[in-house]
Amino acid sequence: MKTEVKAIPASRTTALPALFAVVLGVAVITVTGHLQAETLHDAAHDMRHATGFPCH
């Protein structure tokens, strides 16, 4: 019996984790930098201005 070993292309091993990390990053930035909920906005206010996010 012959066992065939297939190499998984390297791109498949990274593409999904990378995509997940990108989505997570965008989600974090949306919460800290862009959501307009009042408490969030007030707490993050100075950082939002200093980081150049649209504020108010």
Partner: protein, 227 residues
């Protein structure tokens, strides 16, 4: 793989975010507090009388400044997740990513996430007149994505065709233009607003270079540790 990406991003984001937060407290916060005196009406210019450029500013506010640092660290962790993911994709395509290369990655990240949107939607000092925040956020995200894709194409694209697309992606958001206010109502002197924008860019660039450097360093460390 995922845990390596997330771990290295968290380390890089926390370190660079802490440094960014401290730099903002030292260099940006005094300008912001100065502007808020005009935003709140304690100081008024445009009058016949000149106003002192050196008023007493509120000093260090533990709660406010601590929150700013915590949120800056979280934001830079967000940047780091994206940066580390792109670095690992580039590595797979054969690119070498050392901390030294990370400096260039950091500058590119600064250009995409901070400078490109700021070129037309300048970092806003408190009190400026501005268009609807939702419209500006849409423009901000579109510009950051378009600049990010453009820089990737410039770095890894082959041929004039892709580089041409990159140039179009870089220029288009600014040719189209960002949402603008209907009228100018900002009470803050232009000297303060200009200094604020310059400081925001300067601190942003420094922090991004540090982020790029650390992201490459921790990614490399994580990959070696398990492999």
């Amino acid at each position: 793989m995922l845990s390596k990406l997330l771990t290295s991003a968290l380390f890089a984001g926390a370190v660079s975010g802490l440094i960014a937060g401290l730099l903002q407290i030292i260099f940006v916060q005094p300008v912001l507090l100065h502007a808020e005196l005009y935003e709140g009406g304690q100081l008024v210019h445009f009058g016949a009388q000149a106003v002192s450029a050196h008023p007493d500013l509120p000093g260090f506010d533990p709660m406010r400044d601590l929150l700013s640092i915590v949120f800056t660290m979280m934001t830079y962790c967000g940047y780091a997740f994206i940066l580390v993911a792109l670095m690992s994709l580039a590595q797979e395509r054969g690119a070498e990513v050392t901390p030294r290369h990370g400096i260039v990655w950091g500058i590119a990240g600064f250009v995409a996430a901070h400078f490109a949107p700021g070129l037309t939607l300048a970092p806003e000092v408190p009190g400026v007149a501005a268009a609807d925040v939702g419209a500006r956020q849409i423009w901000w995200f579109a510009t950051v994505i378009s600049a990010g894709v453009a820089l990737w194409l410039l770095a890894f694209g082959r041929g004039w065709m892709l580089w041409g697309v990159a140039v179009i992606l870089l220029a288009a958001p600014h040719l189209i233009g960002a949402p603008e206010p209907d009228s100018f109502t900002g009470p803050v002197p232009p000297e303060i607003a200009a200094l604020f924008a310059a400081r925001a860019f300067g601190v942003g660039m420094a922090a991004w270079v540090i982020l790029g450097c650390f992201a490459a360093y921790f990614l490399d460390k994580e990959q070696r540790r398990v492999a």
